[in-house]
């Protein structure tokens, strides 16, 4: 089933834009560089490609336009007619035809010029042919640009058409302008149609959807139709006529019996009779609207006769559809959209009639026979004649009854809002808020309340216990304030106990000491050389000190000291055996001594009057190198690794250098035989008849070198 979605049509560009798009596409997507010196076939191919590419693009884009626009003969006749009414079929077809012609013309141009390009024998000629070809294609498009503009406008309008499905259940609303069609559709669907007092507010078809018996119905609102001969109708009216003619829908003919739309019932009846041919085979309901202004019984006799005539016509359609003897209500209905009285009834009647008609038609059609044998409605067989009504417990029934009572009461109860409406509305009526006061004596409700009595403030005496309550409150507040005061209470010396005072003094002393020490120590790296802990002469941070501190705290230090000792084991074992056997503390001392020894050694060497420099290869004991050769190699490797790589590919010492390009000895002097230009490029041609061993080559080259003619060696061609 074709989806009537005209929103999917691609945008049609204007003539100028079209040309720009295609030409810039050609410029981007084909190779752009070509030189005079290329082979002629390559030049020709280059330009032929451009011509063909442009033609292909034009062809593609024009084809999409032609294909995407709907063909008025291929779509549902409703849409075909609607588009004809709106856009004029001939004009539309002409525009598309012109686009088609343009496409063919461009194809022909491309073909001709590609043929001509085969004879192009110079770059200039091929290029001019290509320019001529593209220019002609663009001229074709320029000529067709009004059609393109027209199609673009149509496309924009078509995309905004309401999506009406011509095959589904539809209810059509028609009648004179201003009778209340749009109000009705606003009431039963969610379509937000403009309702205004002037005629022809609705200028096109509007769609809304509504539900009935779990099925979705389309409701189509049409612009008002005037009673005119068919030829004189304008586009807006033709839209409604088209809808009436082509859609299989239930028709609701609206009648304004109050005459407030500006047309009398006679005129409306005349319209009805003129278009009744369109109501063939459609369930028709005549709806009398605006009954709040004028009830149906109150109209004049002539009008009533007219209405009855219309009803008779409508009955005919009912009978024609299967002869059901429906009652009057299904054909002539009254309602008022303002008071919403009878709106739902109309909708239900229309939906019911339509549904019945469609079901009947489907039953009669042949397609249903295929499905019918698949349906089976199973009804349970009654096993005896006993009547088994539904069982509702008594309590539930009582609760339901009570609820019903309450709702009835609520409805009967008069609301404040009703009171307001009665007494003049929102601005006029002011509700008396004192109405619901609960007082000892009801007569006091309207009394004016004083504020000062006997010099006292009335509000101070509203409660008999007010004084007591005030006292409690004050006490609470005081307590809260006291708590807050406690928080930011500063420590005075007098508040502390003597032990606390002593502790405080200790803490302060220690803190100041630490600060002083830190200030002494605090020097930046620039000002003082940092001495690592190894050379900590003060020997402050020994394990012994740690042990003392821990024991002063009351902890057992042995475990910690062991751990510390194990960490610091970096010394060779042989150094400590003569001191072995001491307890942990002393061995730390040993370490400290060791350190001291090393320091002493250092200072001894530093105290010499003259510093001794070493030769580069001398092995310093303790460096870890075997001998001089190894050290030299190590130095070399270090230097090589730190050499900077020649990432810029600059000339290095390994690159060949010709010190003199024209050495004088080669370019001077007379020659007995041979031309002088041979001197400039001294060549040595060696013709060999048999393969020659490599050592012969080597001797050759060596001989050349001996002649001191490196130029010969360089220009040695082997062939």
């Amino acid at each position: 089933m074709v989806q009537y979605n005209f929103k999917k049509i691609t945008v049609v560009p204007t003539g100028k834009d079209f040309i720009d798009i295609i030409l810039s596409r050609t410029q981007r997507r084909t190779p752009t560089q070509v030189h005079k010196g290329y082979a002629i076939s390559r030049l020709r191919q280059f330009y032929m490609r451009k011509v063909k590419f442009t033609q292909q693009n034009f062809h593609d884009k024009l084809s999409t336009i032609i294909e995407e626009f709907p063909r008025l003969d291929d779509i549902h006749p409703f849409y075909g007619d609607l588009l004809h009414v709106l856009y004029n079929k001939d004009h539309y077809k002409l525009a598309l035809g012109q686009i088609n012609t343009a496409r063919n013309l461009i194809g022909k141009i491309a073909k001709d010029y590609v043929k001509l390009l085969k004879y192009g024998d110079s770059l200039y000629r091929c290029k001019s042919l290509k320019v001529a070809a593209l220019g002609r294609m663009c001229t074709v498009i320029k000529r067709v640009s009004p059609s393109l503009a027209y199609l673009e406008q149509i496309r924009q309008h078509m995309a905004r058409l309401p999506s009406i499905d011509p095959n589904t259940r539809t209810i059509l609303i028609c009648g004179y302008p201003n009778v209340g069609k749009s109000s009705f559709i606003n009431k039963i669907t969610r379509a937000d149609v403009d309702v205004q007092p002037y005629a022809f507010t609705t200028k096109s078809l509007f769609v809304g959807h509504t539900d009935y018996k779990y099925l979705r119905y389309q409701v189509i609102d049409t612009p008002g139709i005037l009673d005119r001969p068919f030829e004189d109708r304008n586009i807006i009216e033709m839209c409604s006529i088209t809808a009436l003619a082509h859609l299989r829908a239930a028709v609701l003919f609206f009648l304004d019996i109050s005459g407030s739309c500006g047309y009398s019932i006679a005129q409306q009846a005349a319209l009805f009779h003129s278009i009744k041919s369109l109501f063939m085979n459609k369930p028709l309901i005549i709806v009398c609207n605006k009954t709040d202004l004028q009830p149906l019984e109150g109209i004049s006799e002539d009008d009533k006769k007219l209405v009855m005539e219309m009803k008779a016509e409508a009955m005919k359609t009912v009978i024609g559809q299967g002869g059901e003897a429906t009652d009057d209500d299904s054909v002539l209905l009254t309602m008022s959209t303002l008071t919403e009285d009878g709106v739902i009834a109309v909708k239900n009647a229309a939906c019911e009639r339509l549904l019945n008609q469609r079901v009947e038609l489907k039953m009669k059609s042949k397609k249903l026979n295929d499905c019918l044998n698949r349906f089976h409605v199973a009804m349970p067989k009654p096993r005896d004649q006993k009547d088994r009504p539904p069982c509702i417990p008594q309590a539930v029934l009582e609760a339901k009854a009570k609820k019903a009572e309450e709702t009835a009461e609520k409805e009967k109860r008069k609301l404040e809002r009703d009171l307001e409406n009665e007494n003049g509305g929102a601005g006029v009526y002011s509700a008396s808020l004192k109405k619901h006061y609960i007082l000892a004596d009801d007569e006091w409700k309207e009394d004016v309340m004083p504020e000062i009595l006997d010099g006292h403030n009335v509000y101070d005496f509203i409660d008999p216990d007010i004084l007591m309550r005030l006292e409690e409150l004050e006490r609470e507040e005081g307590a809260l304030q006291g708590l807050e005061a406690d928080d930011d209470f500063e420590m005075d010396g007098a508040e502390l106990t003597p032990e606390e005072q002593a502790a405080l003094a200790e803490i302060r002393k220690k803190k100041s000491l630490l600060i002083q020490q830190h200030r002494i120590k605090k020097s930046t790296a620039e000002s003082r050389p940092t001495v690592p802990r190894k050379f900590d002469k003060d020997k402050q941070f020994t394990a012994e000190r740690m042990g003392r501190q821990l024991s002063s705290l009351g902890l057992d230090p042995s475990m910690a000291i062991d751990r510390a000792r194990s960490r610091s084991r970096g010394r060779k074992r042989e150094r400590s055996p003569d001191r072995g056997g001491n307890d942990g503390l002393d061995s730390m001392e040993v370490d400290g001594d060791q350190q001291n020894k090393k320091l002493r050694v250092r200072s001894r060497s530093a105290s010499r009057s003259r510093s001794k420099s070493r030769p580069p290869g001398e092995v310093v004991p303790g460096e870890g190198l075997k001998d001089t050769a190894q050290k030299k190699k190590a130095i070399k490797m270090a230097k090589r690794s730190s050499k900077k790589r020649n990432k810029d590919a600059r000339r290095g010492e390994a690159d060949r250098v010709i010190p003199t390009l024209k050495p004088k000895h080669l370019f001077s002097g007379k020659r007995s035989t041979g031309k002088t230009d041979r001197q400039k490029f001294p060549l040595l041609w060696i013709h060999i008849q048999q393969p020659v061993a490599s050592h012969v080559w080597g001797s050759c080259i060596r001989y050349a070198v001996q002649l001191q003619q490196p130029a010969i060696v360089e220009n040695l061609f082997v062939c």
């Binding site: 720009d20 810039s24 410029q27 001709d112 010029y113 043929k115 001509l116 085969k118 004879y119 024998d121 200039y124 000629r125 001019s128 042919l129 001529a132 070809a133 995309a159 905004r160 058409l161 309401p162 379509a191 937000d192 149609v193 403009d194 200028k203 096109s204 078809l205 509007f206 769609v207």
Partner: protein
Amino acid sequence: MPQGDYIELHRKRHGYRHDHFERKRKKEAREVHKRSQIAQKALGIKGKMFAKKRYAEKALMKKTLAMHEESSTRRKVDDDVHEGALPAYLLDRDETTRAKVLSNTIKQKRKEKAGKWEVPLPKVRPVAEDEMFRVLRSGKRKTKQWKRMITKATFVGPSFTRKPPKYERFIRPSGLRFTKAHVTHPELKCTFNLEIIGVKKNPNGPMYTSLGVITKGTIIEVNVSELGLVTPAGKVVWGKYAQVTNNPENDGCINAVLLV
């Protein structure tokens, strides 16, 4: 308003934003700066296209401004001397003018005899032979070089049949044969697509005329029956001469100007 016009519907119901018009005005005022920025920053082909478009716009703007600026002033008009008006002291002397007329006719007759016509393009660039002909090698070993292929546009006529391939020296490829020309009438300034009847004269030489080669400056005869021209005597003119104004081999078409 159709159901789908949401923008208009919203505007109708709720009106515009409170700052809508101000924003719109400011945006439009900013367009000037934006455009100048684009003009300065666009590079390459885009820049060139924009510059061209902008130049055309500016030229048009200048013209309209000039048009608005010109005011209707009153200027002194110099009466031109009427052609052929004589001063008073020469009133009864008019033999000399008659003599002039006579000599003109004589000149025209002489020109006709000589065959020199006044044409729109009196001088054209001469086309060299190697530009006109391309050598085709033939023979079993492709050593014979007596055949020539014409590289320019040609006209052969409807009853043309080739000579037997063994004997034809000049080859006129069918891709380069034209039958129609775009002929412009110099006074009416409109162009018609007319059939060529024949090649009258090629300025590069009589050989080319006989071969039917059409280059720039060639005089061709075209079928003007669709123009509906009539001689003073009442006969319908159906053939007229036209001169070719472009290089047909470069443009793929023959553009000519009618010689009236």
